[in-house]
Amino acid sequence: MAPELPGVQFEPLAGSVAAWRAAVDAQQWLRAGEDIADRGGRLAALWASDDTDRGAGLCVRALLVSFEGLICLELRMPERDASFPDLSQSFPCADRMQRAVHDLCGARALTPDGDAADPRPWLRHGAWPEDIFPLRRNVAASARWPAQPDAYRFVTVEGDGVHEIPVGPVHAGTIEPGHFRFSVVGERVLRLEERLGYTHKGIEKRFEQMSLADAIRLAGRVSGDSTVAYAWAYAMALESISGAQVSERALRLRALLLERERIANHLGDLGYLGNDAGLAFGLAQFSRLKEDVLRLNARLFGHRYLMDRIVPGGVALDVDPAAIAVLLDEADRIEREVRALRAIYDDHAGLQDRFMTCGRLAPDTAVRLGVVGLAARACGIALDARAHPGYAPYTELQPKVITERAGDVAARVNVRFEELFESLRLERRILRHLPAGERVAPLAVAPEGGFGFGWVEGWRGEVFVALEAGAAGTVRRCHPHDPSWQNWPALEHAILGNIVPDFPLINKSFNLSYAGQDL
């Protein structure tokens, strides 16, 4: 069922997910955004490309999720003073993405009055000048600039007894770099403002120097903890462009890897959440189980985190009956042990006291911010791309969408426990019903200008990859999108009214990716 918007022509896109694209003008761009927001849709990603080498100016794209599926709006702009209408009134999460579009491509989001929606840079700290846009075609990949002055304007909170606590970019633990500016009275947080972009290393530019076949390795390193989700999303996008038919066996093996990635990450998080609430026992136990999973990954699949195991057209591994037996054994043992540990967590009054009501994200705030993934499900929002719209092989595996209602740390802990059990169930089901089939399907040459999407529910939330093929099997443009774009702003809300010492616990309960959003 094609989406309908007045005056807009939708063109269906081939691939595993229902998706349409449409060229729009500025007015339709704004109207379509409002329309889809009113109908309960959301903004999945927003990015821009430079097509001046084809005489087509710049193009900004908004990827929207509506009931029908994915809708990609494409708005073309002249290169000089490029601008497009600000979508942040309909979708607040558009703000940071629009700022990144300006930093990288030089197209500005404007309010109806013609002012910049938010003129502050987001990814540009000082590595390149204000009037240089690295993703423009005329900027060489090897170009370098001397460090520029960097004066970021944080929003200041004033009043009696208010003071600021700046934290980062180098944090006190083994954490990725980012800056948090707390405005506090006593210990209570009045406001948190995040500044990210520290790990920006120009991945999108790097993609354009790679072949379509090699670039899957880079996609798998956008956010290392979600390497399977990214590699799968990239493969899905490439396969939709080149029309490859991946075997049912390879698809199920991909799902096996994705669920094992979820299991490993949830085990790690459950340990750290116990630890951050003062129960070191939890970390010791869960990190031991996580290590068991990683070691089995290394033994059976050749990599602890399953990097480079998904390849275009299929998978770079297979399982024999002996391996299946070992995996099934492990699944039973992990389930038994986690159930025992959950009983300990559930009965531990001190731990539950720290978890419950801490870092609560209200469901209406979460909807408004467009929160996705695990964090959304912990406030009762049943978003899970594996279930809806669903993609092979999940349409047959029928994963259960786990939700909790409280939206606090306890809810995010419980979602992780339940998802872990569900992933173990899926893993068993995959292993017991593995059809025969080829490991890798041959891939036709991707036609120049071919355009496709990948959409995969990683352990943190949905991962998108938008891919455009260039000449002779090269990447013309690749935009990977991490769920952290949507969820980071939610952390600023979840912390409000809590005390500073609870921030590490609340932050961990979201466990968002810096690298994934900094790109």
Partner: protein, 174 residues
């Protein structure tokens, strides 16, 4: 409480023997004398700096604390401030947005400022290489004593890198 204690007893001690030092990982030799190394080798404080990694190496640094590797059992601790650190453990290609933060962290670290570069990116820039936003390998920004390749290097390899940095080179002092 009894469930918790029973679990601890049931699981028992899982810690494995640490790896041996590997001289081939050394980038700089003969910088410190044996006495300093002997002291550091028994109580080492490390400050980790993610200078732009994909967070894969961080997963393995975290794994060092699990019961199998039990890095604290060797007298090695991760500390919250560079001012408390004997060694910086740096991951990632150094992003330009982290270049200054990394330099400042290095300046804030007291001598002997041992530096361990972790992962293919830290060793060579890895898949990200140099570019408008990446300085490439760690050694292009601060001096590196020991470099541990791998994407990501498994915990035992990282541990080997740490131990190499605080052991006298096999030929150096004999």
């Amino acid at each position: 409480m009894h469930k918790l204690l029973r679990q601890i007893v049931k699981v028992g001690i899982r810690t494995e023997a640490p790896p041996q030092a590997d001289d081939s990982l050394r980038q700089i030799t003969d910088r410190l004398n044996q006495e300093v190394l002997r002291l550091l080798g028994r109580a080492l404080a490390i400050r980790h700096v993610d200078a732009g990694s994909c967070n894969g190496c961080e997963l393995e640094i975290h794994a060092l604390a699990n019961p199998y590797y039990n890095i604290e059992g060797l007298g090695i601790r991760f500390v919250a401030s560079p001012r408390h650190a004997d060694m910086l453990m740096v991951t990632g290609p150094v992003s330009r947005n982290m270049e200054q933060a990394l330099r400042r962290t290095y300046e804030a670290t007291p001598e002997p400022k041992l530096v361990l570069a972790i992962g293919d990116c830290g060793c060579s820039g890895g898949i990200f290489g140099d570019g408008y936003a990446s300085c490439g390998r760690v050694a292009s920004v601060i001096p590196v004593d020991v470099a541990v390749p791998g994407c990501p290097p498994p915990p035992a390899a990282i541990m080997q890198g740490i131990l190499t940095a605080v052991r006298a080179p096999a030929q150096g002092f004999r």
